[in-house]
């Protein structure tokens, strides 16, 4: 009996566990009288969700990379590059859809290059993607001619509009994209051979090879997928900024990686989940949003966010140790 109840409690903890950090953060600001009225509004949640789209898309791909035991430091540069390419194409008169596809593919290409270098040269991903970070950023600045690219407004810029055009959408199309891709990836990780192989490669590459997993192919694919998501994220960045900006998202790779790790991903591979990652993204977004609403100066915000990152992960570890 009591054992069964215990199991029930621990299952509940496991289901809600990932959300604890998020609930705590929301509760924190919901309790401060100064902002609670505004903070808890649907409009504010919508705006936080929209703000999260760019990091979330990057983090979806990064989750795969981290589960496979890798890391992608080039993510943020890749986002900037894709945003520049999209703006460039639209500016050059391409159909918006073609420009979007081009932007996403550019991201995928950078990812493919990462994967190729990691597997062919057998270099640590940290270094390959760190090199690629410089290359992609440089390429973005080059293409943009060291400037931001102004592009005429098209439907692409509606993707991140807070009040979407067909109003029955309720949320910005970008948010829906995140939801759709998150579900797709979560299913893929759990219910496809490819997904199981990603976990296997991250958990023990030698074992995976021994079991007939084409580890190199898995890794190349993972980086390519991550690149595609960065590309999409870049398109969203362009949509949000309405300009293609080669200097955007500097340092964002750390936010993206932090989101995955806060969400339970392990940098030594084999662990991580899509749901966790999304929670990680939201924790960081709500923190920023709440701190800004409170009007706290940036340094306080920096300190608080730094501390919360540590606390969130510590809570997660504690929960894991329990069961």
């Amino acid at each position: 009996m009591s054992r069964r109840r215990q199991a029930g409690v621990s299952r509940a903890l496991n289901v809600f566990g990932p959300f604890i950090g998020l609930i705590l953060v929301i509760a924190l600001f919901a309790l401060i009288p100064e902002v609670q009225g505004r903070f808890l509004r649907a409009a504010n949640f919508k705006s936080v969700a929209t703000q999260s789209v760019i990091v979330a898309l990057g983090a979806l791909g990064m989750t795969l990379v981290i589960i496979s035991g890798g890391i992608d430091l080039s993510a943020a540069s890749n986002i900037a590059l894709a945003s520049v390419i999209t703006a460039y194409a639209i500016n050059a008169g391409a159909a918006p859809l073609a420009a979007v596809v081009l932007g996403v593919l550019t991201g995928g290409l950078v990812g493919l290059a990462n994967g190729g270098l990691v597997t062919r040269l057998r270099l640590v991903p940290f270094i390959v993607t760190m090199g690629m970070m410089g290359i992609a950023r440089g390429a973005a600045k080059w293409i943009a001619g060291n400037q931001k690219i102004d592009a005429p407004m098209t439907w692409v810029n509606e993707l991140m509009a807070k009040s979407p055009r067909p109003s029955w959408l309720l949320l910005a199309p970008g948010i829906w994209l995140v939801i759709i891709f998150a579900v797709a990836l979560a299913v893929a990780l759990r219910y496809t051979v490819f997904g199981r192989h990603i976990y296997a490669v991250g958990s023990n590459e030698a074992t995976a090879r021994l079991c007939g997993v084409r580890t190199d192919r898995v890794k190349v694919l993972v980086y390519a997928v991550s690149g595609l998501f960065c590309g999409l994220s870049g398109v969203m960045e362009f949509s949000r900024l309405t300009v293609g900006d080669p200097t955007v998202a500097v340092g964002l790779e750390l936010d993206i990686i932090a989101a995955v790790v806060i969400g339970g991903g392990s940098l030594s591979g084999g662990e991580g989940s899509i749901l966790g990652t999304l929670v990680g993204v939201l924790i960081m977004s709500f923190l920023r949003n709440g701190c800004t609403m409170m009007g706290w100066p940036n340094y306080i915000q920096e300190i608080i966010i730094g501390a919360i990152i540590i606390v969130a992960v510590a809570l997660d570890r504690l929960r894991h140790r329990k069961d």
Binding site: V193, R196, S203, R209, L210, E271
Partner: protein, 514 residues
């Protein structure tokens, strides 16, 4: 034995209890170890032996229980504490730092200092001494341990435990990757330690070994102590009955099987890490044993055949198709399966579940409309867990939490699950208890009867002699000789393995296995 009776116990453990979640690994267990006594701890896989000894060494904290050393209460706060109290341990799973050299590993945690600096000369002397003691002075102290074979690693592990002057030495399956000769040498060392009044706890699934080396025994079953006594006058059957609650009739059950046409043939195959090319052939329904000392190059042969190492010359042909240049996934597709001797490093993804590990090499059957039928996967895995009597909470348990022997069973189950038609088994019974071993031999026999071919690498000669149709001997990277099993005896195998040549009169017969 006089030593047992004479001295007051150097170690007393009473009421030791340890739970891992819902698993009760140890339930109110106790035993005593006298000065100069060798005490054997035996029991099935998952009985709780390693856990008990990890509690003694300080690596695991007990939930309840008391320990005394020399009559004084002993409650180590960690392994360092245990070492300082004179308890050293050879762990079942190798615990070496791959980047450090042999010397650095052996001296780790007990470096010799001179005026604050490392005294390298003194350490070198100690290391040489202890390598000499295990009779492997050829192991270079300056080689990073990561480059050694499993066997050599185990020797380093033993050397590390011996370099301590400890009062209590725990050996958890020290010989699982050793050749017979190295094992013999270890027993001599143990006898030497006894003479120096060191108390030794010895864990092994080789019961004959245990009988030879131990003075007394304690048998664990399901985390409980079910009997203890002096080894003298205790028959092997009695021990087994204590362990499993019944007797078993045959340790090496033979399943009748017929040898068919060749399925795998190696023609001067030379892998990147092999010392010399190898030519041999393996037939359907045949069990071909491979014997040799540590570093004889058996593992390298299997790795080359399976495509894990690059192939430099010659060819491997499976069912008429040339294998050379294939990667493991290609080999698997052709029906090959490899069981690695290094289950922690390579054989298993420790962080993943039993289900994932068991089915990783063959997820195809569970695919439906592109998606995995996880429920069916679990059912199938649960079936294998039952069939192989794997002690696990269920298909979802992480492999890391299983006992050593049960991990090995999971690795083996993967090959069975994958329905490989050529099984390359590298020390498949490593760390598996006697009863399960005989079970495994039976399966291997049945696989042969189904027409599958088995390449069986082992350092445990009795099992080679007991179940193989043919046995090939390797020496320094080259195949010395292959003969029908009936044409070998233990002494002959040993001689061939150590000297690289056969005693002479028996004729070799490559073509027609028994």
């Amino acid at each position: 034995m006089s030593a047992v009776a004479a001295a007051s116990p150097v170690l007393r453990m009473t009421g030791v209890t340890k739970r891992f979640g819902a698993t009760v690994a140890l339930d109110d267990v106790g035993f005593e170890l006298a000065r100069g006594e060798v005490h054997a701890l035996i029991g099935e896989n998952g009985a709780g032996k390693s856990t008990m000894m990890k509690i003694l060494s300080g690596a695991v904290a007990p939930d309840a229980g008391r320990m005394e050393i020399d009559g004084r209460p002993y409650a180590p706060s960690g392994p360092g504490d245990g070492l300082r109290s004179g308890v050293s341990m050879i762990y079942q799973e190798l615990t070496l730092a791959p980047h450090l050299t042999v010397e650095e590993n052996i001296m780790l945690g007990r470096e010799v200092r001179a005026a604050g600096w490392l005294d390298r000369k003194a350490m070198r002397g100690k290391v040489r001494e202890v390598l000499e003691l295990v009779r492997h002075p050829e192991i270079s102290p300056d080689v990073p341990v990561g480059r050694l074979s499993i066997g050599a690693k185990q020797l380093v592990e033993i050397a590390r435990a011996l370099v301590n002057r400890s009062r209590i030495l725990v050996m958890d399956e020290p010989t699982s990757s050793l050749s017979q000769e190295d094992s013999q040498r270890l027993f001599e060392i143990v006898r030497g330690l006894k003479a120096q009044d060191v108390g030794v706890v010895y864990i092994s699934h080789f019961l004959e070994e245990v009988q030879r080396v131990a003075d007394s025994y304690t048998v664990l079953r399901d985390g409980r102590s079910v009997g203890s006594g002096t080894m003298e006058g205790t028959a092997l059957e009695d021990l087994i009955e204590l362990m499993v609650g019944r007797t078993i009739t045959r340790l090496f059950p033979r399943v009748e099987h017929a040898v068919g046409g060749p399925i795998l043939s190696l023609d001067r195959l030379k892998g990147a890490r092999m010392a010399a090319p190898v030519t041999m052939s393996l037939s359907r329904g045949e069990i071909l044993g491979i014997a040799g000392l540590v570093g004889a190059g058996r593992t390298e042969l299997l790795r080359a055949v399976f495509g894990l190492d690059e192939i430099e010359g010659g060819a491997a042909v499976v069912s008429g198709a040339v294998l050379a240049g294939l990667k493991p996934w290609g080999a698997i597709r052709r029906g090959l399966g490899l069981l690695s001797e290094d289950r922690q490093g390579e054989g298993l993804a420790l962080a993943l579940s039993v289900a994932d590990n068991m089915t990783l090499s063959d997820l195809g059957p569970y695919r439906r409309h592109g998606l995995l039928d996880v429920a069916r996967q679990r059912r199938s895995v649960a079936g294998w867990i039952g069939k192989l009597a794997i002690k696990a909470k269920g298909p979802g348990q992480t492999v890391r939490d299983l006992s050593g022997g049960n991990q090995q069973k999971v690795a083996l189950a993967r090959l069975l699950h994958q329905k490989a038609s050529v099984l390359l088994l590298d020390e498949p019974t490593r760390g598996i208890d006697v009863v399960s071993k005989s079970q495994i031999y039976e399966w291997i026999g049945e696989l042969a009867r189904e027409g599958k071919a088995v390449l069986f690498v082992s350092s445990y000669l009795p099992e080679l002699l007991g179940i193989c149709d043919r046995i090939a001997v390797f020496h320094r990277g080259a195949m010395v000789e292959a003969r029908p099993a009936s044409a070998w005896d233990a002494a002959g195998l040993m001689a061939a393995a150590t000297m690289g040549r056969t005693s002479g009169q028996e004729r070799t017969d490559e073509r027609s296995p028994s």
